[in-house]
């Protein structure tokens, strides 16, 4: 049992380091995904340029932009695996799909978190939102826990379509309904944190609880199902 845990640890560490290194050297997140999400935020600002509306919907926009960007990151995360047959080699080498799952999830979480912090900053500036100190604490808690859930679910569904034809179009169809609870929960928690539309910050914590439950479910399901999902 311990030796299996060691293998999982080793493989997941190797995978997360590898994925982040790839990102560090290719800078796709910085050069493509971040500008993409920035464009989403600005387009919304144009479309909804109406006193009050932007402040009220700002939390939802931050999370919508995060989810759309996540589709791109997940797509990319598995494209590097299938480009030169690395996923095959990984299946042969890892022997422990749990390690691959954890590693890729962690890498996805780190990237998402960086993106969310950027989007938060944009929302504060662009949409003129002013949270309190308590609001900030709540916002960061929301981000952290929502991101854990998103990392697991993104990796699970990304692996499901990896290598299959037509997965580019399938991924949004599968992933967006699955992350709907995160969109709702994180948006409502952030609304509470921002005080949008008269919401109080105490209203946010149950939603954060829901996000934690989501993360738990998909973490465990992913641990069970990721291996079979990437098999032929």
């Amino acid at each position: 049992m311990t030796s299996r845990m060691q293998t999982v640890r080793r493989v997941s560490l190797a995978v997360v380091r590898k994925d982040l290194r790839i990102e560090w050297s290719s800078k796709v997140l910085l050069n493509q995904v971040a500008p993409f999400s920035l464009v989403i935020m600005i387009m919304f600002a144009f479309a909804l340029d109406n006193e009050g509306i932007l402040q009220r919907v700002a939390p939802g926009l931050v999370w919508l932009a995060t989810l759309f960007s996540m589709l791109v990151i997940v797509q990319r995360s598995f494209a590097v695996e299938t480009a030169d047959g690395a996923l095959d080699a990984l299946r042969v080498a890892g022997t422990e799909p749990l390690g691959i799952f954890i590693g890729k999830s962690l890498a996805l979480m780190v990237q998402l978190l960086a993106l969310e912090l950027m989007l938060l900053a944009i929302a504060l500036v662009l949409y003129a939102v002013e949270p309190t100190a308590m609001g900030y604490a709540e916002t960061f808690a929301t981000m952290l826990i929502a991101t854990i859930g998103l990392g697991f679910v993104g990796t699970l569904y990304g692996g499901l379509g990896a290598g299959a034809r037509g997965r580019e179009t399938l991924l949004p169809l599968l992933l967006l309904p699955a992350v709907a609870p995160v969109l709702i929960g994180a948006t409502r928690a952030t609304e509470a944190a921002f005080g949008s539309g008269g919401a109080q910050s105490s209203e946010g914590w149950p939603w954060i609880g829901l996000l934690a439950v989501f993360a738990g479910v998909f973490g465990a399901v992913g641990a069970l199902a990721f291996g079979p999902m990437i098999e032929e």
Binding site: L160, A164, L173, L174, P177, A178, P228, M229, E231, E232
Partner: protein, 244 residues
Amino acid sequence: MTTTQSTATPTTQKLGIATAIAVSFLVLSGLIFSAEDVVQGSTVRMMYVHVPSIWVAYLAFGLTALCSAVYVSNRSRSLIWDRFAGASAEIGVLFVAISLVTGSLWGRLTWGTFWVWDARLTSTAFLFITYIGYLAVRRLGGTFTQRARRSAIMALLAVLEIPLVHFSVNLWRTLHQKASIADPNAKVQLDGFMLFTLFWGLVSFSMLFAWLLIHRQRLMALEDAVQDQGLDRAIQERRTEAGR
């Protein structure tokens, strides 16, 4: 195999005839014999389709999950379970759609709006989209076992939404009314003949589901068999390549 082979057997033919009679009676009962509601008037008749539809959808998705669980836990990994799961989910999606359409028409007439984002309607919409995704995963390609494995995992995840949908009206305040028959207070909230008609709707729609399911499953089995037969021929062809 004969050329006249169909997916019907004497048993399913009898079931089909019985279903046709039951549904015809439901039409008569729902449209003519049953009375108008004191508040809604004739729109109440929509209920005799709406409620049985969502009932069939629950039944279908439940069966999908059950068959998937059997497939996953069974050592033999027989594909018949996968086909039943897939056939059942297809029918379920159809009936959720029927339920959504009849419900929103009724909503327009009674509530004054086609759609609201209350807990029941929102969760039903999730359910619908999730199973459309499930069907998409089944068409992803790959081997039969790959299809079965992927879709079984999805089915076991997706079925968790059903209790949420069903109990949403009890957990939260919704614009959608609570259950009238499966009420926790065990007090039936329908007048006699309305109740009978609704009950008849559940029975006849369940029969319709069974009939559709058997045929769809057999059709899928035949599709798979065609591919398998193709495999035998393909193996023969493949072997002759060596001579060339």
